[in-house]
């Protein structure tokens, strides 16, 4: 239960950060990706700001044997730079460039109640489900 409550509050902080940063707005994200147009470098400042905090936190986590609310750290084990990593990232990049939504901002933007966001999120979840079904067979 404590882990669920902390996840809710941390999710709120993450969503608030997306809203404050402007990254919830696909038009602004596309402005960053459009280097040849009226370029908006804001996204680089968002990532920079996030890394300023996340980097020392990661170093701190390495020195601890366990997190506060769980028995152990559950971190990605894969190390290889392989075809699924690159192909998946390329497909994601294509979808991201077409509309300007990546998963976090898309879910946060559900808060606006816009039908476009709901449709995008439904398709995104369907894409995740397709991957899961393909993995099974």
């Amino acid at each position: 239960m404590p882990r669920t409550v902390s996840a809710l509050l941390i999710g709120m902080l993450f969503g608030a950060g997306l809203a404050v940063s402007g990254m919830m707005n696909p038009a602004k994200v596309l402005g960053f990706l459009d280097i040849a147009g009226d370029w908006d470098p804001t996204l680089a400042f968002v990532m920079g700001g996030a890394l300023i905090v996340a980097l020392p936190a990661t170093l701190l986590a390495r020195r601890r044997s366990r997190p506060v609310l769980a028995e152990r750290f559950d971190l990605p084990a894969k190390k290889a730079i392989d075809l699924p990593l690159i192909a998946g990232s390329a497909l994601f990049g294509l979808g991201w460039g077409l509309v300007g939504f990546c998963p976090g901002p898309a879910l946060s933007a559900l808060s606006t109640g816009l039908w476009q966001v709901a449709l995008f999120v439904a398709a995104m979840l369907a894409g995740m489900l397709v991957f899961r079904l393909m993995r099974r067979t």
Binding site: M1, S6, A7, L8, I10, G11, M12, F14, A16, G17, L18, V20, S21, G22, P26, A27, L33, D38, D40, T42, F45, V46, M47, G48, G49, L51, P56, A57, L69, A70, L75, K78, A80, I81, I86, A87, G88, A90, F92, G93, L94, G95, G97, L98, V99, F101, G104, L107, S111, T112, L114, L119, F120, A123, M124, G127, M128, L129, V130, R132
Partner: protein, 140 residues
């Protein structure tokens, strides 16, 4: 650079970084949104519940910001419904195949100095940039 907002970008980035830091130090998890959302389908019990709670928080967070500032954050979507469906499918499938998105690889992975996440981030940044270039300057 007429739309450049470095200060609010940095402030929001610090909040996102703090959220990633807290999820790691408290729950021992990586704040990768595609992984958290995708895991809702496979998890059970509390493993599923915390993911649903996190996603609910993502939706409530901007409403809390709107309550404080008095303005709902702007969301402008130019794409029509066919493009929204195609892009959504690509983002959902691609992030699961590639084990992460802008948050998991781009923030948490880079913070862990993971070469795998650097390769993923470079790939989706370059492909997304090329996509926007083709849509706006070649076709458009």
């Amino acid at each position: 650079m007429s739309n450049f907002t470095p200060l609010s970008g940095l402030a929001g980035g610090l909040m996102i970084g703090a959220a990633a830091a807290l999820l790691l130090l408290l729950n021992g998890r990586i704040a990768g949104i595609s992984g958290i959302a995708g895991g809702i389908f496979s998890g059970a019990g509390e493993e599923r519940l915390w993911r649903i709670a996190f996603v609910a928080g993502l939706v409530v967070g901007p409403l809390a910001v709107a309550a404080v500032t008095g303005d709902m954050p702007v969301v402008e979507i130019a794409a029509g419904w066919p493009l929204l469906i195609v892009a959504g499918l690509l983002v959902g499938f691609g992030t699961r195949l590639g084990s992460g998105c802008t948050s998991g690889h781009g923030v948490c992975g880079l913070a862990r100095l993971s070469p795998r996440s650097l390769a993923a981030t470079a790939t989706f940044m370059i492909v997304a940039g090329a996509t926007v270039f083709v849509v706006r300057h070649v076709i458009g």
